[in-house]
């Protein structure tokens, strides 16, 4: 059944109509905040470094000092944290760019589905990074008396504080990413309802 002057022709299968959609400002602003949160978590943790020199002995009149460094790259969990948050912030940046610049690309009607799936992957990655880094920093803060692992936060307090700030910012980004994922999935549901393909 083809309409004479309409712009929607119904053939044997469903065609997705690319109608002019109102810009979703809430989703865009959530994405911007999530991008800022994950990007700042990455940068704060990646520049987390503290050097401390302790005098261990004195020979005659010259003191011998040992330099200890605390870097994020010493701990594999923090390296994973930086990589995961970096990927999540790149994903957010790509989604913002796609929302603002590529509104006409529809990818054969799969646009919303692709965005939902990529959001799912980003939230999974970010939550994995958060989980690992949280417990690693808890270990550094409290130590583990059963395994004879001393805590390091009393000796390297600024390092620990910066790590804590990066962690909190990453949590905010993670929660926002989860909300964004739910909104993207709801968008897919609405799009399907609009095109008469419903569950």
């Amino acid at each position: 059944m083809a309409s004479a002057n309409g712009d929607k022709v119904e053939l044997g299968f469903n065609i997705v109509t690319v109608t002019k959609q109102k810009k979703d400002w809430i989703l865009l602003s959530l994405r911007v905040v999530a991008f800022l949160a994950t990007a700042s978590a990455t940068i704060v943790m990646a520049t987390n470094k503290q050097t401390k020199s302790l005098v261990v002995a004195t020979i005659g009149t010259t003191p011998i000092s040992v330099t200890l460094t605390a870097k994020f790259s010493h701990t594999p969990a923090f390296v994973f944290f930086v990589v995961a948050n970096g990927c999540a912030s790149l994903h957010n940046l790509a989604m913002i760019a796609m929302d603002m610049l590529g509104a006409k690309f529809d990818c054969k009607g799969l646009r919303f589905a692709l965005i939902a799936i990529l959001d799912l992957m980003a939230v999974a990655l970010a939550s994995a990074g958060d989980g690992a880094a949280t417990f690693m920093s808890e270990l550094g803060k409290n130590g583990n008396s059963h395994a004879r692992w001393d805590k390091i936060c009393d000796k390297f307090e600024p390092y620990c504080n910066r790590g804590g700030i990066a962690l909190i910012t990453s949590f905010i980004g993670n929660v926002l990413l989860l909300i964004i994922t739910v909104m993207s999935i709801i968008k897919v549901l609405k799009q399907n309802r609009l095109n008469h393909v419903g569950p």
Binding site: T75, F112, G131
Partner: protein, 163 residues
């Protein structure tokens, strides 16, 4: 054809449930007591906060997995299953990542922080926890597959259904 697909899905959900159950049981029953000279060291999963989080998260998902096995096909609750699948998959991913991070420190130690590996002293405990984490990894991968399938079935995002 649809019947075999349904049985396949049921088997996949059963695999996920049994993997989470197995990892909970293995990690919970792993404890070893080692004594040399006059000191005795006991290694339990409760010694580490990450393993406690791991066991709690996986027990919650085991109960959820058990309940979903009995959901009839045409029930309206499958929409809720999509949302709960998402939440529980993210929970599983976070907990296995935390447990793996702490287990890696236990196995390799951390030279910079002066933390010695403990696997040399309590090898049986180490092996059991490794087995529990491996089962947990299988559970996570199965849940990711199930999540993608739930979204596909309920929402049909790739527009494969022709109505």
């Amino acid at each position: 054809m649809a019947k075999t697909w349904r049985i396949c899905l049921l088997l996949l959900r059963f695999l996920a449930f049994s993997a989470t159950l197995a990892s909970v049981i293995v990690v919970t029953t792993s404890h070893e007591r080692v004594s040399f000279l006059t000191i005795s060291i006991e290694a339990k999963y409760t010694n580490s906060a990450a393993f406690k989080y791991f066991v709690i998260a996986y027990s919650i998902v085991t109960v959820y997995g058990f309940l979903v096995l009995f959901l009839p096909q045409e029930s309206l609750l499958w929409r809720l299953v999509v949302a709960l699948d998402l939440v529980f998959t993210v929970l599983l991913i976070s907990s296995i990542s935390a447990a793996l991070a702490i287990a890696q420190v236990g196995k390799k130690g951390n030279d910079y922080a002066g933390w010695l590996p403990i696997c040399g002293q309590v090898p049986k405990y180490c092996d059991r926890v490794t087995g529990g984490l491996a089962a947990g990894l299988i559970a996570v991968i199965t849940y990711i597959v199930l999540l993608l399938h739930s979204i596909h079935t309920v929402l049909d995002p790739l527009l494969l259904r022709k109505n």
